[in-house]
Amino acid sequence: MTTTDPAATHATSTSTSASTSASATSTSASRGVTLVLLYVLAIAIALALSAALIAITGGPWRKVLTALLDGSFRRPGRWGDTLAESAPLLVVALGAIVSTRAGLVNIGQEGQLAVGAATATYVATHGGGPLVLLFALVAGVVGGAVWAGIAALLRYWRRVPEVITTLLLVFVASQGTGYLLTRTFLLLDDDPNKPNRVQTSAQVDADTRIGFIRVFGNEFPWSVVLAVVLAVVVAVMLSRSTWGFKLSVLGRNPRTAQRIGVPVVLAGAAALMISGAFAGLAGAAMLAAGTANYRYTPGFANNIGWEGLLVALVARNRPLVCIPVALVFGALRTGSGFLAATGVERSIVDVVRSLLVLALLVPPAVAAIQRRRVSPPPAPVATDEPVVAVAR
């Protein structure tokens, strides 16, 4: 009996179907091996290119590697810093996953994070009371959500691609929050004994600061724990809840989503705003965890938004995979601080990071193409009905 004829396989006994499934698992296993090999190859190429780039510009690439490791994990107290640095990356990435799941491309996290941090600073410096930390975090969430909401509004009301608007809003956000720092009734520190002339906000009070956890001589804010919990929550919500299901239907086929009763506009706008809310929360948590010495400063976001987005890309939009990826990206950030001794500019880290991301995009795409080539589309099932009946 041949298994090539689809009509024959369709009507055969369990023995054939068992054998076909066995062959299917063997090919999928070989595909898995190919995928792993492709990943190893891609990472190797990216790292080799980075090393070559350092070598060409006259830098010692071995020293760069050891400096990165020293700065991120090996020196005492460094892995606590790395954890602290990874937390906002993880939170931003989780938000990016939510909007991507709904088929929307939010790439304005950098701006949403800045706005969230600014609104949190406003609440923290103008408010008081025992719950001020909570209010500040909520303000960050609201700020980020509103900023993403502008893009959502333009997307669904005027059909402007959200790719463009979120990007343009990044620039507007950095200028807008910069304006807030020029007026004392908004964010500018009105303390006459300011340490320097850079325009910054006032330092937030002790009750607006996130506590630190100390383990083995390392310390990190408990927002790290919050970020991991959020990752689990997002993972469960996306894969196990009705909301998550509706979101992925919306992302895969908006027309189908509409037919099964998903409110396309509301669900899409909500996804975009949730994604902004995560970025805003990351900004607020950064402020409360001591980034820039508990002050809002120009350039506060410091690429966390962009890098968080890259974390989501590398993790291929799986929330739990984001945790280790965010850790690696956080390590690159803390490690880059130790590069000064090697004489290599720390911007090399930007190059290495995006090169890695580019390389990691390729293997799954190649695997997908192979899968398409190996298995041809299913042939129509042959029936005894006359063609006319089908046409009717």
């Binding site: 510009t57 790439i107 463009i164 608007t165 620039f171 500019e345 190059v351």
Partner: protein
Amino acid sequence: MIAVLGVVLASAASAVGDVLSSEAMYQSAMRFAIVLAFAAAGEWVAERAGTLNISIEAMMIGGAYASAVAFGAFDIVPLALLVGVLAGVVVALVQAHLSHQLSIDQFVVGLTLNLFVLGLALFLDSKWEAVTSVVKPTRLPVLHDIPVVGEALFGQPWPMYLIVPVVPLAWWLVFRTRWGLEIRSVGDNPQSADVSGIHVNRRRRESIMVAGAFAGLGGGVLVLGQISIAGYESGHVGLKGIIAIAAVIFGGWTLRGTLMGCVLFGYFFALQQTLPVLGYRINAQLAASLPYLVALLVTAVFATRTRQPRALAQPFVRGLT
């Protein structure tokens, strides 16, 4: 009350009058508009093929840095511009093959490329700093004596004039060649284009190459043609590629409209530079974000009023509809 309002209105009117009669304003606006127009013309070709390349930004940055370095090394402007074009095409090659051969999401590729090229230029610039000297304006005889706008239109450094052949070239490619016909069909209905024997993704890749060449040239002109710029600096391009995309949307995917969009955005970029010179105090942050705010506003108004290529930003995989 009315008097105050009257004074405010009068001063605003005099500001507008000053801006409209300022030669420097026209010159500056023209330069920004031309740089935008290179990228926008390229992006227009690519969007007619149904692709939306946010990596146009990366192509401009690559072109700008490569041109500046090449000029520093050889001191020959045409050669430097050529190197800029090559850099733009290299970025376009990566974008095209990752997104329209391996079918990776084009925005994901574009974003990563933007960050990669920005970081690469920043890193290389710390080693090989690219310093360019100023290209002298080429004044066309008689014409540049036209009052107010003469200097802006006919007194620019010569690389700026390259826009004069580039725009008709883009138009000719899209509307007067077989290739252009295929580009447009691929952008509007890739399925039927595929059935009629057009290699959809190859045409799209080629359209991105054209965008890369034009945007790379635009980046080169940005560093070599501007009077006030002496070398590559990070943030020079500063989302001008994205503004160029906004210009295409503003223009309703027509070339003429796209150019009008470039002039509009060029005007607002120039406003930021010129208003302080004319003695008007304007909030610095507002002035800096003005072109971006206008881009948001303008795309919001014009995105729905016009007919975009039907398959814009939709990847083509055979067998999927």
